[in-house]
């Protein structure tokens, strides 16, 4: 599910993704390139900290009031809280503390869980990775396959069916789809019996660890949330890939390949797809932001104990330090993925690698 514009021509967006051509080839140039991109990532991260600070520490009207809402508090307790939260310090000092703490890994203290935020995040990291990772891989495989084939013969039945399905799924709210699947396959509806658990990552009371029974149990719990994410996200990848393929179709080198006597499938796989992959790879990497958004809502619906569910829980108070922590972690991971996207593009496109 996305709130940004659906992918229009991959080319128009990818024109901006491709890094400008560098100098001559060689490892030294790669070092330059890497250094440049790392520097940019560091700057992004710095700005991220500024924004995080502004949103979570400066904007809220009165954190003390939010914390103590509903509880009678004496003036002394309020003064103590103010001191503890550092609200009476000048902005610069607070920001300085914030940056130092963040870099050291001290992301604050959750008000509702009364545990350090960093601890909570580490606890919940693996489930999110598992969910997002498996969903991403499956979505990419399905989406790209469909995109390649529907882009190769646009207007034909496969294309119309696949594109229609993709557009429809793109318009479906992730959380609602999750609820539907929950009703259909977990609670059971009509003739469909309950097949999958209603939530959580494993059946309560079972033994954890790497025992096969446990792995199977987790896998059973993973099916519905993962399916929800895949259904909503594969459409993005499909449209991107389709768009790229259609852009490639007009190119004369495909005619050259046909003239050489290659079969249609060979022309597609050996010539069109490698070229169409270039802008797609970058755009797909950049979709990680969408994936994160999907993860938040899916985890909420399925009570999947990951970072997304943590964010939802943080919203209830609102638990600002926790929200801040998850925000920073999510955003930092997007920065990392953008960096990976640039490096991957450079590796794949010889025009950039050696100019």
């Amino acid at each position: 599910m996305s709130s940004t514009a659906a992918p229009l021509s991959a080319r128009s967006l990818s024109a901006l993704e491709a890094p400008p051509g560098g100098g001559a080839s060689g490892a030294r140039d790669f070092a330059h390139y890497l250094a440049r991109k790392l520097a940019a990532a560091v700057v992004s991260f710095a700005m991220l900290l500024v924004v995080g600070f502004v949103i979570f520490s400066l904007m809220p009207s009165d954190p003390v009031e939010a914390l103590t809402r509903g509880h009678p508090t004496s003036a002394k307790q309020i003064a103590f809280l103010v001191k503890q939260l550092g609200l009476n310090q000048p902005v610069w000092e607070r920001f300085g503390h914030f940056v130092v703490n963040t870099l050291e890994g001290h992301l604050g203290y959750s008000w509702q869980f009364e545990t350090p935020v960093a601890t909570l995040i580490l606890q919940r990291l693996w489930p999110t990775l598992l969910l997002m990772g498996s969903s991403t891989i499956v979505s990419i495989l399905i989406g790209m396959w469909l995109g390649i084939h529907s882009g190769w013969r646009p207007g034909k039945l496969l294309d119309r069916a696949a594109t229609g399905t993709a557009i429809t799924f793109w318009s479906v709210p992730t959380y609602w789809l999750g609820i539907l699947l929950l009703v259909l396959f977990s609670t059971g509806f009509g003739v469909i019996p309950p097949l999958f658990p209603a939530g959580g990552m494993s059946t309560p009371g079972t033994v954890g660890g790497w025992a096969p029974a446990h792995i199977l149990d987790v896998a059973r719990h993973l099916v519905l949330p993962s399916l929800t994410l895949v259904l909503v996200v594969f459409a993005q990848y499909q449209m991107i890939m389709r768009s790229s393929m259609i852009d490639e179709m007009g190119n004369p080198y495909l005619l050259t390949a046909r003239a050489k006597g290659l079969r249609d499938a060979e022309v597609r796989q050996k010539h069109a797809v490698p070229n169409a992959l270039l802008p797609s790879v970058t755009l797909i990497f950049l979709q990680v932001g969408t994936m994160i958004g999907g993860a938040i809502t899916v985890e909420t619906v399925y009570s999947w104990p990951g970072l997304g569910y943590l964010t939802f829980q943080a919203l209830q108070i609102p638990d600002l330090p926790l929200l801040e922590g998850t925000f920073i972690v999510f955003s930092a991971s997007v920065i990392v993925f953008n960096l990976l996207a640039d490096l991957a593009y450079r590796h794949l496109d010889p025009r950039v690698r050696r100019s």
Partner: protein, 725 residues
């Protein structure tokens, strides 16, 4: 001997929805083993469709009928497996525009090896060594096997395409516009290579081109296509020398030869447009535009009739009873054709030709500078004086001295042609004269006064000097009507009074009559020639004294080219409009220019009256440009220049042409003049402004060895030896 390829009654129709386009309507020809056939025609005539249909490479929406017998088997009915086996192994293709005809993400070597591995099941190692050998034979170092297409120059890419086409040792090569978009000299190099290889390996070849002169030089036989049919075929020298179809005659004149008095200041063109291929055509498709049409042309079914030994023509006049279409002095027929065309209303597009008159130029006329055109007041309208334009260094590339100290003058009522290859700086110079590019040094002068770059001064300058660009379709905002497009200039300058009249007058001057019929149209509804007229009308609407035209006719069809050139000539005659025509095509200079300046790497190397420079060139570069012009009547092979087109970021020391100069290379070793060429820069040419009087006609040349006669030292037929590479 049975012909290698026989095409019988080939017809190709594209269907999309309810519409159908009959791109090819009944084409017959045959090709003997070892022969080369050239197929010429303008855009939309069907020549590329014919070429692609030979291997069934057309899109799925195309329907073929007829027979294509390749080595006796009909390609049209061939099963897929057999067709794939024929492709490349028996007949291969050299496409144009090799930048996008080669896969950008795979190395050149891989792409050459691909068909070898596919058809001969060879191992990678064997294929690679074959590929290396092929690259050698086309003059590309085999170290380039691992290069990617974008790392090669245009000429090198085209050579790679040729090597690729030879990979499986085919019996037939189909070359579709193999040298379009290449510079003139590179074009000559590639053509020489192609024809040499083909002859050496006894491969038959079909060459498709819109450039008749290229075909005349490279092919044994010619077939001229028009509106999906063949209009004429025969041995190339004869077809070009004595055409037996009116279309051929006009097409041939669109590629003038230097020294041909008939085409001097007399560009040839055709009014109207090619017919709509969606409709059925009754009679001869060329009839609406034909200068020699008779009544029967509209009704009789035309086919290829014998018109001489191994010649055929689809003109009804080759039949007895109609008189001879050729033989009777070409000149009078052509002249009559021009005058008839001037009165004709043209085809459904309604394009009206300009009111051109033929201009006979007597010997000894030195051009307009010699006080012919009533030049009271300053003779120079537009001047570049010591002009320099340097593009600053960017990442990965040094500073480019695009224009490096140029003096150039355009007089009142004078047409000057600026000729050069890509990268020589001519487009930058043109834009500097119009004020779109601010020079780094020197000045631009209008009517003697230097151009200042404040916004008011620039706006005033726009009213005096206007620009016409190469791509008329791109130069017109697709969302504006013709009226708005022409009115844009006056509106920007606040000339609101009488705007409608001004627009109508400009359109009429540009040959779009009646103007009222055009004002409401959008650019995409007009033909290429009409679009360019709209661009010119837009320039004329500001009443300029001079126009600068950057490749004004390069993207137009050959027959339309003449009409636009005629228009420019007529504007000079009627409005005293001066013009600077920038082009890579010397034929344009011959057709309409009074003076010509040749540019190389940012400097003018030779300038003077057209007759002098083009008939008696003194600079080796000019000589090279002239010698590589394709010419079917030439006996000696062309002398091309070695090396690649120059790079303005790396200008050689001394004379900037010396690394490629055949004169320098022909000097005996140790000659001290060689040092002069390598170390001492050549003095910048003066502007060549014509002072009134008979003595003004001399041409200027920038060469240390200008009057050295080395004709005895250079062996004819060999390409000029390489200088410092």
């Amino acid at each position: 001997m049975a012909p290698l390829l026989e095409v019988r009654d080939l017809a190709v129709t594209y269907r999309s929805g309810a519409e159908q386009v009959r791109a090819v309507r009944g084409v017959d020809f045959a090709l003997e083993p070892g022969d080369t056939l050239g197929m010429a025609g303008e855009s939309g005539c069907g020549k590329t469709t014919v070429a692609l249909s030979l291997l069934r490479l057309l899109p799925v929406s195309a329907e073929l009928s007829g027979q294509i017998l390749f080595k006796g088997e009909d390609i049209i009915g061939l099963g897929w497996q057999k067709l794939r086996a024929v492709r490349w192994a028996q007949a291969s293709v050299v496409f144009q525009g090799a930048m996008s005809a080669l896969n950008p993400v795979r190395s050149v070597g891989e792409q050459i090896c691909e068909p070898i591995i596919l058809h001969e099941k060879a191992s990678r190692r064997v294929a690679e060594s074959r590929a290396a050998g092929l690259l050698d034979s086309v003059g590309v170092s085999s170290a380039r096997l691992d290069s990617y297409p974008h790392e090669l120059s245009g000429g090198q890419r085209q050579r790679v395409m040729i090597a690729m086409a030879l990979a499986c040792q085919p019996d037939l090569i189909i070359a579709d516009e193999p040298t379009t978009a290449l510079d003139v000299i590179v074009q000559a190099q590639v053509l020489q290579l192609l024809t040499g290889l083909v002859r050496e390996r006894q491969i038959s070849m079909i060459v498709i081109s819109h450039d008749l002169s290229v075909l005349g030089e490279t092919c044994d036989r010619l077939a001229i296509m028009y509106a999906g049919r063949i209009a004429e075929t025969g041995p190339s020298r004869e077809v070009l020398g004595k055409p037996r179809h009116p279309y051929t005659r006009i097409l041939a004149r669109a590629f003038p030869r230097m020294g041909d008095a008939q085409s001097r200041l007399a560009p040839a063109g055709l009014p109207g447009e090619p017919p709509d291929l969606r409709a059925e055509v009754v009679g001869c498709p060329f009839a609406p535009r034909c200068p020699e049409v008779v009544a029967d042309c509209h009704t009789a079914a035309v086919e290829l009739w014998p018109a001489g030994e191994r010649r055929e023509s689809a003109c009804i006049k080759v039949l007895d009873g109609y008189g001879h279409p050729a033989g009777v002095a070409q000149q009078t027929a052509a002249r009559a054709g021009d005058q008839d065309a001037a009165q004709r209303t043209g085809g459904p597009g309604g394009e009206q030709p300009g009111t051109a008159e033929l201009r006979a130029e007597g010997p000894g006329t030195a051009g307009p500078g010699a006080g012919q055109r009533g030049s009271e007041g300053p003779a120079a309208v537009l001047e570049a004086s010591g002009l320099r334009v340097v593009f600053p260094a960017r990442r990965g590339r040094g500073a480019a001295r695009a224009v490096d100290d140029v003096n150039l003058t355009i007089g009142r009522g004078e047409i000057v042609a600026l000729i050069g290859e890509s990268g020589c700086g001519k487009s930058t110079l043109a834009r500097a004269l119009v004020g779109l590019v601010e020079p780094t040094g020197g000045e631009v002068r209008y009517a003697g006064a230097p151009l200042r770059y404040g916004s008011a001064a620039l706006r005033a300058h726009r009213k005096h000097v206007q620009l016409v660009l190469q791509d008329p379709a791109g130069a017109l905002n697709p969302r504006q009507t013709v009226f708005d497009l022409v009115a844009e200039g006056p509106r920007l300058h606040g000339m609101r009074a009488g705007l409608t009249e001004r627009v109508h007058r400009a359109l009429a001057d540009a040959g779009l009559r009646p103007p009222g019929q055009f004002v409401g149209r959008y650019p995409h509804e007009l033909s290429g020639g009409q679009q360019q007229r709209v661009v010119i009308a837009g320039a004329l609407a500001l009443d300029p004294s001079a126009i600068v035209a950057d490749e004004p006719v390069s993207s137009l069809d050959a027959s339309v080219r003449g009409e636009i050139l005629k228009l420019i000539l007529s504007l000079r005659d009627e409005l005293s409009l001066s013009a600077l025509i920038v082009s890579h095509d010397l034929g344009v200079a011959w057709n309409i220019a009074d003076r010509v300046a040749v540019m190389y790497l940012g400097r003018i190397v030779e300038a003077g009256p057209v007759r002098d420079v083009l008939l008696r060139p003194r600079h080796p570069y000019t000589q090279a440009l002239l010698s590589v012009l394709p010419d079917a009547t030439r006996d000696a092979p062309a002398r091309t220049l070695a090396g690649e087109p120059p790079d303005p970021t790396k200008i050689p020391a001394g004379c900037r042409f010396h690394p490629r100069c055949p004169r320098l290379a022909a000097l005996p070793a140790g000659d001290e003049r060689a040092e002069l060429c390598r170390a001492t820069p050549v003095p910048v040419l003066a502007s060549g402004a014509q002072a009134p009087g008979p003595a003004a006609a001399a041409s200027l040349v920038a060469c240390h060895l200008a009057d050295l006669d080395v004709s005895g030292l250079i062996e004819p037929g060999k390409p000029a030896p390489q200088g410092a590479q």
